[in-house]
């Protein structure tokens, strides 16, 4: 119940912020236009999406075996592989590595799994400093906020917001709201830290089972710095990020960058296949891979919901979502916001905690239309609505039945009773028509911003009879 209250108050807060509305609208319009420009040929796009969906579905169908292969190949390459069932375990593993090296500073590239782990807070409580090096993430770290978008984490902030934040945090640097100047200033601050850090952390976009390669997509070069400059590189990722073959990477990469930001290719694409080898002049001495489950294998169990795990985290579903565009990422209160978050997060945290999210959708289908791996998001939202109110429990999804109320169940029972009998339905129609002058229609929230619809003097059943349309 608390979650419901929080969700609603966050929505109200977001809707009451005209500046947020303007920022989101123009940012999302830009991202949508960029994506569109990248896919001029509709048939080619559909073929590529189908390929992407097949590659991801294939990987998931063999997930246990591919994970073992990944572990084996990574180990052969000199990457140390760690398995974490929970966030606590994953945090413990990262801490253990840091302690082993008496490391006091961890420099981080962008990683949504590290957000899922709440790693920064955990390490800082242990006296280890974490520094975000992705510009957007760095801004948010300064502001003390979580990301509001998985690809463009500070999308909710304006240039002026950021300029004021920099002035507040770095009073010695002259105020500027020029993007290039701000970026240059941030780079100046961060650059020295790369040399000082004893470990660098990154996420993984695709982990290739056949070769033990960790692929990392980025635009700022900070990812490459994090994974090559410090002596230790720790990669954290979810167990679903594995793909079978190297040949599967190019189609997914094509889909990812075009869907996310409308780029044909990002500025950097890193393929990490192990620590520095003898004779090599750079690269970390140690590479660790932490594979996090945190509820994923439970999602994996269900034949339909498993499709949630196809996601390659491009963010196109949020960019195209009319609701995300209105309320922004923070309102969701989850690590991953938007349509994909509304199916993924309740499955992880339980429908008892996040059951409101699948309900907060018009099922308009804009997300599924652009999803590069064709996740049927509206179908899965619908499925979770069912899981949320079902009265029998098969225990597959956390929080099953938690949203069922006696009142709502009774309403739908009555609805069904009325509509499954033609006689009762026609009787109700006639009654509604007779009483149309006094029946209140669409009370409460509906009429707050709308005139109520009017019941017609004659319903269609009657008019069809009168106009001579046969019954059979």
């Amino acid at each position: 119940m608390q979650q419901r209250v929080d969700f609603h108050s966050r929505i109200e807060q977001a809707l009451g912020n005209p500046q947020l509305k303007a920022s989101l609208r123009s940012a999302m319009d830009g991202l949508m236009a960029n994506r569109k420009a990248c896919f001029p040929d509709a048939d080619a796009l559909e073929a590529l999406r189908l390929r992407g969906a097949q590659i991801r579905a294939n990987a998931l169908s063999k997930l246990p075996q591919l994970l073992l292969q990944l572990e084996q190949r990574c180990t052969q390459n000199g990457i140390r592989v760690h398995w974490a069932e929970s966030v606590d375990e994953a945090n413990g593993i990262v801490l253990g590595i840091m302690r082993e090296h008496q490391a006091e500073l961890l420099i981080k590239g962008k990683s949504m799994v590290s957000e899922e782990m709440d790693l920064n807070r955990f390490l800082e409580a242990q006296g280890i400093e974490c520094l975000e090096s992705d510009l957007g993430e760095y801004i948010l770290q300064l502001a003390g906020e979580p990301p509001s978008h998985i690809v463009a984490p500070a999308i909710h902030k304006t240039r002026q917001d950021i300029a004021r934040l920099f002035k507040e945090k770095f009073p010695d640097i002259p105020y500027s709201d020029d993007v290039d100047t701000l970026t240059r200033n941030a780079r100046g601050i961060l650059r020295k830290k790369f040399y000082a850090a004893s470990a660098g952390l990154s996420g993984v976009n695709f982990a290739v089972a056949e070769s033990g390669t960790l692929c990392l997509v980025e635009n700022e070069g900070n990812g490459r710095m994090c994974t090559t400059v410090p002596p230790v590189h720790i990669a954290v990722t979810g167990i679903e990020k594995v793909v079978e073959k190297l040949a599967h990477v190019p189609p997914l990469l094509k889909l990812l960058t075009r869907s996310a930001t409308g780029q044909h290719i990002t500025t950097y694409f890193n393929m990490i296949s192990g620590p520095r080898r003898t004779g090599e002049k750079d690269g970390p001495k140690e590479v660790h891979l932490v594979l996090l489950d945190n509820g994923r294998s439970r999602i994996y169990e269900d034949n339909e919901l498993v499709n949630t795990l196809r996601c390659i985290r491009c963010g196109a579903c949020m960019n195209h979502c009319p609701i995300y565009t209105r309320i922004g990422g923070h309102a969701y209160g989850t690590t991953i916001p938007g349509p994909i978050g509304s199916i993924l997060e309740p499955q992880k945290a339980g429908l008892d905690n996040l059951g409101e999210l699948p309900v907060a959708s018009t099922l308009c289908g804009a997300c599924a239309e652009v999803c590069p791996v064709r996740i049927p998001i509206p179908t899965l939202l619908n499925r979770l609505r069912y899981e949320r109110i079902r009265s029998d429990h098969d225990g597959a999804t956390h929080g099953q039945g938690s949203g069922r109320t006696r009142k709502e169940a009774a309403i739908w029972k009555a609805w069904s009773w009325l509509h499954r009998s033609p006689v009762r339905y026609r009787l109700a129609l006639t009654l509604a028509t007779r009483l149309r002058k006094i029946l209140p229609l669409g009370l409460g929230p509906w009429t707050r911003v709308r005139k109520p619809p009017r019941i017609a003097a004659k319903n269609l059943h009657r008019r069809a009879r009168e106009e001579g349309f046969n019954d059979r």
């Binding site: 907060a360 239309e369 319903n459 269609l460």
Partner: protein, 255 residues
Amino acid sequence: MAEQKRYPAKPKKAYFFATCLVDLLYPEAGLAGMQLIRREGVEVIFPQDQTCCGQPAWNSGYRDEAREVALRQLACFTDNYPIVVPSGSCAGMMRHHYPEMFRERADQASIEAFSSRVYELTEFLVHVLKIELKDLGKPIKVALHTSCSARREMGVADEHEALLKQLSKVELMTQARKEECCGFGGTFAVKQPAISAEMVSDKANAIADTGADLLVSGDCGCLMNIGGHLDYRDAAIEHRHIASFIWERTHATEG
């Protein structure tokens, strides 16, 4: 994306499924759809035992309740005629979700046979009846809102436009972000009223900005939402179901 669909030749008879919103609130739209089909020489059958497609319960998670109601509809349309629906949303339910609804349940093959006979009204007029419209109305500026289910589930956005473009005195205005949802979403409008209000207000602004005299849509849910909001604002923009609009402009005895 809608699959490539093959259309049959013009049938002798066709069924009409009213949808509950049309039945109660917009019967003239249903009647207009039936008259348009009849004018093309097809006998229209309106089974009096029809009620609702079951979508409200289905989208609320009440699957058993939805199935009970859907089963009643299956029993009303047993002959092998096309079933024409004046709504992308309800047509999408019967065409795409009925097979999903009864998966591994009742006779799957007969459900699929039923679903394959379901057509949204504009696609039926364009592809099956190959209707040709003669515009008898006065010049008018019209904005079209295509519902999300008509656009994405049924893939009939082009058919809506094609019909309006056949009307020589109708100037079709294009609102900004025309593909975006109007914020109706069935129970969404009541469960998330604040977001829904924001969405419908943005939609109404975009439509008003085109200078249109009239809003048409193929779905009464969207009409009730956007039209209700336009009326609430006292905007000088009327709203009409696409079937009513076409019938009014092409029917000889109408003023």
